[in-house]
């Protein structure tokens, strides 16, 4: 033996790898026909990514059909209007390895034949090169043939990819006339070489379940529900040929533009999280109760690269009755949302997302918020106010107040909220000279006003409860950020009793109003010198402020800030043993904490203010830690040492002890 050690290539058991990849698809798809579902998805995606007309897919077609070469069935996946397997015509392994390591786009041939390599662009559907492993998994012999006519150089390439007896996946290929010779040998002369640019894949002796799903037409459902977007937008042609019959996949009715009897709402392009550039193209939500919505259509389809990656069930986002009847879809802007979500959050099989990391977490929170809004608009969910008793309201307020420091400490909101306690309302006697704003009405209880909406009764009524008239100046105005806009100013002789309305019957909030907080104000000044006095002893002279307490705040195109904290409570009665408390992010307004009023633990104390306060507080503290943990994971935030160390340790058993420790510390401080 020589002194210099020899270097060996590590030998992998490819048979096991094929099984492992197939198992991942099986686990994620969770239905008996997982293999054909995964197969169609990957085959179509590869073909769609290779389409010549990238913008509209003109001339593109992809299909599945059976052939028979002797004693074995062959599943053919064919396409046209595609580029074929372009790239360097390699002739040996060293050349191949260089191509793969250079990671250049356009090397379709090299990437097609090898595993876990891919150099597709961010806009394309696949990236990891796992799809062809599933082709092998679908073959009883673990063998596929392929041929391709390349658009880049009109080269014909043909070959075979197979699992050899030594458990290694190997392939052979050749070009042009030698490639044609290979095709002759492999197919006993039953197939002629391709004459149009494109690729053909032949799965040798497909497994019975694959054959059955294609022959029975079950495959159409999978195609239609995963490729509905390209069928709808580009009239993409995807067919299955059985015998002499060729059938094309259709757009499922559920995704047609207008549907009778199905309420629908489209949310336009918008940023999903304030302070980021993550934008969606559209979110469409639809409500289809009593419509026998098929299982495959249920949930909100998250679209990427023209295919449905995953459907999120609305009832897993919003835990309310009727949510399972909501379905819809979401399309993303390519940059940066779609690109980052694909790169950072999408599973290698393109079947799901990791929803705990950004931007997927932001996207799920956004969808959840919109689903709740949609449900509220359609009155699927009840108003929480209607369901609260006084003890609940007081308990919720108490908890809010006491937990502000905790939320502050956890960095879950940032506001210098003081510890001011509200003075009890001590409205005294009516003043003899006053203004009344009794008729003012805002479109919403929250006093949010959107463009195009109106404030009704935007006037004041002067009242004189004295025995003689007085000359007064009444000014009504709106102020925001120090900018004053006078609505009306009048000098009137105010006789005993009620005077005329000063202001306007209605004010329409147009786009001239900037987004933000406004105050509707009014005051009454004496316009004459008198010898009369106000009840507090102030002499009434010209300029005396007779009444200036009118101040009605409202908010244009934004919700008012949370009164006292970063979260609010919503009681929710559910006959579900596993449901005690829960939370949801509430857009940019913090969190909603739900509690199950029907749960015996809560039901018992629902009218006991003190006990309910204690209980809700303790539950909310723990929820706050969970929220923090999720935020830290999503944002890779390292500002909190304890949480950072916990995540770094990857030790699940440490989560609860940390929560308990922090919970204990906070309670200690709170009660001492």
């Amino acid at each position: 033996m020589s002194a210099k050690p020899k270097i060996f290539r590590q030998v992998r058991n490819d048979a096991k790898d094929i099984e492992a990849v197939a198992d991942e698809y099986k686990t994620k798809l969770e239905h008996p026909s997982w293999l054909i579902d995964g197969l169609q998805k990957d085959a179509i995606q590869n073909s769609w990514d290779a389409r010549i007309d990238k913008k509209r897919g003109t001339g593109w077609e992809c299909g599945f059909l059976f052939k028979n070469f002797g004693d074995k069935d062959i599943l053919c996946i064919v396409d046209k209007g595609t580029t074929g397997l372009n790239g360097t015509k390699f002739t040996d392994e060293k050349e191949l390895i260089d191509i793969l390591n250079n990671n250049q786009p356009g090397e379709d041939l090299a990437y097609f034949l090898n595993s876990n390599w891919s150099a597709k662009s961010g806009e394309e559907g696949g990236t990891r090169g796992r799809g062809k492993t599933l082709f092998l998994a679908a073959s009883h012999d673990k063998k596929i043939f392929f041929d391709s006519l390349r658009s880049s150089d009109n080269t014909y390439v043909c070959g075979a990819l197979y699992l050899d007896k030594d458990n290694q996946v190997k392939f052979k290929l050749n070009y042009d006339k030698y490639g044609e010779k290979i095709l002759m040998e492999l197919t006993n002369g039953k197939l002629t070489p391709l004459t149009q640019h494109g690729t053909r894949i032949l799965i040798i002796d497909p497994l019975p379940e694959v054959k059955k799903a294609i022959k029975s037409g079950e495959i159409f459902s999978f195609i239609s529900y995963s490729r509905w977007e390209i069928i709808k937008k580009y009239q993409a042609k995807i067919f299955v040929e059985e015998g002499n019959e060729r059938k094309y996949a259709n757009l499922p009715n559920w995704y047609e533009d207008e549907l009778k009897d199905i309420p629908s709402k489209e949310f336009p392009p918008e940023i999903i999280k304030e302070g980021t550039r993550y934008r969606i193209k559209r979110l469409v939500l639809r409500y289809a109760p009593d419509q026998d919505l098929p299982e495959l259509a249920k949930g909100i389809a998250i679209q990427r690269g023209g295919m449905t990656i995953q459907r999120i069930m609305a009832d897993t986002l919003v835990h309310e009755e009727g949510m399972s009847d909501i379905y819809g879809w979401l399309e993303m802007e390519n940059k940066p949302l779609e690109e980052e979500i694909k790169l950072n959050c999408e599973g290698p099989e393109h079947l799901d997302f990791n929803w705990t990391i950004k931007p997927a977490k932001y996207l799920r929170d956004y969808i959840r918020y919109k689903v709740r809004l949609f449900a509220k608009e359609l009155k699927i969910t009840m108003s929480e106010q209607a369901r609260k008793n006084k003890a609940q309201r007081v308990a919720e307020e108490n908890v809010l107040r006491s937990l502000i420091p905790l939320f502050k400490k956890l960095g879950l909101f940032g506001k210098q909220l003081g510890r001011k306690t509200k003075k009890k309302s001590t409205r005294g006697k009516d003043e003899p000279l006053r203004l009344s704003v009794q008729d003012i009405k805002f479109p919403r209880e929250s006093r949010r006003i959107n463009y195009g909406e109106k404030i009704e009764g935007a006037y004041v009524i002067p009242i004189n409860d004295t025995n003689s008239s007085i000359l007064v100046l009444i000014r009504v105005w709106i102020v925001s950020e120090g900018v004053t806009n006078i609505i009306e100013e009048k000098i009137i002789n105010l006789f005993p009793g009620r005077g005329p309305k000063i202001g306007r019957e209605s004010i329409e909030v147009s786009t001239k109003f900037k987004k933000g907080k406004y105050s509707f104000k009014a005051k009454m000044l004496s316009q004459e010198e008198t010898d009369r006095y106000l009840p507090d002893g102030t002499k009434i002279e010209k300029g005396t402020k007779l009444y200036e307490r009118i101040n009605q705040n409202f908010y244009v195109e934004e919700d008012p800030p949370l009164g006292s904290g970063p979260f609010r409570f919503e009681p929710k009665g559910k006959d579900d043993k596993s449901y005690l408390v829960d939370w949801e992010p509430n857009g940019d307004e913090g969190y909603v904490i739900f509690y199950n009023e029907f749960h015996p633990r809560i039901k018992l104390i629902l009218e006991d203010e003190e006990r309910l306060t204690d209980y809700l507080r303790e539950q909310t503290i723990l929820l706050a830690f969970q929220i923090k943990l999720e935020e830290v994971i999503a944002n890779n935030d390292k500002s909190d040492r304890d949480f950072s160390l916990l995540i770094k340790s990857k030790d699940l058993t440490s989560v609860w002890p940390l929560f308990l420790e922090k919970y204990s510390e906070f309670l200690w401080d709170l009660k001492s």
Binding site: E274, K415, K523, K542, G543, K545, D588, E589, G590, N635
Partner: protein
Amino acid sequence: MVLKIKKRGRKGEHFEYKSSKILLTPKDIKSADRFDASLNKTLKKIESILLKRKIISSRSKKKDPLQVWYIVGKQVNRFLKKHKVSREDENLFWNYLYGRSSLIHKGVPSSSISQTRNDFRTASLLAQYSYKVVKKVGPWALWREILTYKSILNDERVFKWVIKRLIKTPRTRDAARPLLKAVNNRFKRIDTTILNDNELIEKLKQVKE
């Protein structure tokens, strides 16, 4: 807007982001960082002007407090022209200036200071007038007193009348207090903006020190 506030706790100094907004976004944090950096630059500039003019010692001893605060006010106003602070965050901003430059103001007040007593806000108001007039009226302590009375500040005519009186008869802060209080009490319940000049003068004449 969001401000980056330095806090001293048991574990030493740390920063907190504060705002009238309840929830902060990463964008808010970034803009707070930018705001903070720009303000630091302004404060450094003020320090260098003060030291160059030798009206403050390196140990923060003000040789001419009126001139020092006047310069501070001018520079802060210039900064505020570039960086808008919302009304809701104004109080936070004025408090936020303390403890940032040990040369201009030593230490941080132990509790929050009301806007009317805030030196930086007073300096900002002061710098709206010409230094010539400011100097004629009296020392920094007197100005701090004048600028706390809302009724005086609300109407320029009232303000000018008070200034004229103080220039005519110069006095210390304590000596000026009865006059300032009397003016304030006279107009506490009056909106002087609806009075014409003659009517206002009549009422000013009734002020009893």
